[in-house]
Amino acid sequence: MTLLTTLIGTLLFAVAGPVVGCLLAGLDRVISARMQGRVGPPVLQPYYDVRKLFEKERVSVNSVEGVYVACALLFALLAGGIFFSGGNLLMCVFVITLSSLFFIMAAYSTRSPYAEVGAARETLQVMSYEPMVLLMAVAFFQAANSFDVAAVLRLDHPIVCTIWLVFLGVLFILTIKLRKSPFDLALSHHAHQEIVRGVTTEMSGPVLGMVEIMHWCENVLFMGWIGMFFVWANPVSIVIAILIVALVYFLEIWIDNNFARVKWQFMFKSAWLVALIAGGVNVAFLAFL
């Protein structure tokens, strides 16, 4: 039954995830433009970009790059399916990390110096945010007495009440996960140049299109994680969660537009420090008190 729910969830997420993610990316670009005193592109611009990429000539430096990126997209969809069908949060975390690893492998497989810089930076980003993400799963278990996301629907109060410190920690690493400045070291959406387009330097046409779709799905999943903190047995809580998700995404856009990119050392140290303080203290508090 669980397998069937996950499969149906994945199929539904494969349809709804990209649509919501695309609109989110479009709104992101319009709001960013307004913050910079510009009119900005149409809301559907990310959709036009991807459609164009799929119309381009198919060229690749090797035959495995496309397979790795397709696997990364597939596992991102699976992670979304597991999460939104109320499945195991820990499994969702592992599957989305697997997706990131396939993406890194795709970049390394091209043997391009810029792609390798990007892949190394992407690896550092994964290393930076992963402790906090794992502690989030542990804290979730402590708060909900289950790893199943669906367990929040049976609670008397949202899990944020007991693990608000973990929520703040997740908020910090969310900037890394959403590839927003100041932590957009591996792959930036602004001022495209070789180093900051790192991971995707050798990806072009349809493969780059798949990367964009994967990014949309990832964004929807991560915003789902944020919403998860505010849902409890009351159905009204879903509306509250969506409002908070919108607010958090706006905050991320604001951060993106106001902070300059940092060096990887700062990202790594600060993310681990936050994981240790926010995650560690909260988990220890729930475990021993």
Partner: protein, 147 residues
């Protein structure tokens, strides 16, 4: 429906320009003119770009670079020669080291003369380039169906 015209990503290369046209190219992409309204994004990667903006004339030093960038770009692609030097060689056309305009190295789709070329004219050139991009995209699709 061709989507090539809805998201023209540009790459800019300075051949041997005096930087006058380069400044105008960058000014065109700045918030004042807001190229992103039309989906224009300045990329640093030929593999992601659709429109190649070249400034300055072609000489023995840069002909290889121009050809390399052009060859790395994926079809459909369009070349815009920005400024009179890129169109014909301009005031440098009879210098001993100048081979001529950009068309001495690669096929050019749109010529945007001027010294320096103005942002308004560049926007016109990019719009003309976008039309050429749509034609090429349609031709590519037809060729794919035929094959």
């Amino acid at each position: 429906m061709a989507f090539a015209s809805k998201s023209p990503w540009v790459i800019h290369y300075d051949g041997s320009s005096c930087n006058g046209c380069d400044i105008e190219v960058l000014a065109t992409l700045c918030p004042g003119f807001d190229g992103e309204r039309f989906g224009v994004i300045n990329t640093g990667n030929p593999k992601h770009a659709d429109i190649f903006l070249v400034t300055g004339s072609v000489n023995e030093q840069n002909i290889g670079v121009i050809k390399e960038i052009y060859n790395q770009m994926l079809e459909p692609k369009v070349v815009v020669a920005c400024g009179i030097c890129a169109c014909t060689g301009g005031v440098f056309h009879d210098c001993y080291n100048v081979l001529g305009g950009v068309d001495a190295a690669i096929p050019v789709d749109v010529y945007a003369p001027g010294c320096a070329v103005r942002p308004e004219q560049l926007i016109d050139a990019i719009v003309a380039g976008v039309a050429a991009l749509d034609e090429k995209s349609a031709a590519l699709k037809a060729a794919r169906k035929g094959a």
